[in-house]
Symmetry: C3
């Protein structure tokens, strides 16, 4: 059975450095076996940022932003849990997509997040419940912000 | 004591066919006794869609859309739980209302959802905690999307 | 060890009267040790309202609105739990900031909420996970709405 570390290597996924907090909050907090992860943006240290709203930037850029949000969330989980193997289920993601009022493809953008989770954890553990909504604007003009709920041991 | 099936008949509620998924996610996922339901839209198979933003469409249309979101959620719960009797509590709904920037009556729209839940399950089980917010735009130009958290056995 | 009542006095915090419900929902609902609190707005009984969107009103007004949302949530918790000492952890807040499309400082606004929680409960109990997003509009033209999840005994 392949470990997550091996699967990441196969998939060419390299975890970024965990992002800095952007205010007065913690990045994870536990309630029983539920672990809540604060809204993650797409900024990766050492990479140019993706900014702008969907309707201005392309769906592909939005999907890449959603993917990066998950990379940041995984980096936070790796740091706070010690190992991603402790993620028993990705229960829920809430995907906020900064959108011009005539952009209607939020689910396609959110699929950039779901795909990485499913590729990494497999369908049963990784495929979450989800809402994908079009918000007016996000902090720092990022196109996507995602908060997560995972079940852990 | 009236069963939920009997109450539905009394109320004239007919569950629709469960909606299709609109991307890479699951429609329900369990974490202990908490069951999370992905954001549901108002589209009912075989009925004309309700689209547009509040401020353009009427509050009554918005309430009907909110009601249909719950009908879809109930259809999903019926399918995934086998019986709605297994819903012990509707804990929380998050109501996203696509809104023009000068539409301020999101709670009235969300009441279309709450009313159906309370009519069906009664106040103690069915009346949820709630947020009702005005978002810029929703997938496919639907006016309302609702995600739910229910407690089950 | 200082009680919460004593700390509130030291900090000059006076709990307002719990706000009225703005529709068909309950203000708190329990699921195991998780207590969900419905989205709270900033209106305090007997005080002039803060209305408008960020980008029109100042960040300081937005922070004060966020602080008042938490005051209302605390008043609800005090009433429904009997004592704030029963709050074991503020797990999560979701901060909706009504924003003009070019306002990017939602986290600064949300810090008005986090600060009060940390001042009152201390960092370990009070500092929550968080998302801060810019929504198109909120009920009654309020600038901030916050929903909470707390862990109780």
């Amino acid at each position: 059975m392949e470990t997550l570390a091996e699967r990441m290597q196969t998939l060419g996924i390299e975890l970024p450095e965990a992002p800095d907090r952007a205010g007065m909050y913690v990045q994870t907090k536990r309630c029983g076996n539920s672990l809540y992860i604060s809204g993650c943006g797409p900024s990766l240290k050492g990479k140019p940022d993706i900014t702008g709203k969907l309707g201005e930037i392309s769906i592909e850029e939005g999907q890449e932003a959603a993917r990066r949000c998950i990379l940041n969330a995984l980096a936070i989980l790796q740091r706070d849990l010690g190992s991603l193997e402790r993620v028993k289920s990705v229960v829920k993601i809430l995907t906020f997509v900064a959108s011009k009022p005539d952009f209607y493809n939020q689910p396609k953008v959110a699929d950039g997040a779901s795909k990485l989770l499913v590729d990494l954890f497999g369908k049963e553990i990784g495929c979450p419940t989800r809402s994908a909504i079009g918000v007016a604007v996000l902090p720092g003009d990022i196109p996507v912000e995602i908060e997560l709920l995972v079940e852990t041991d």
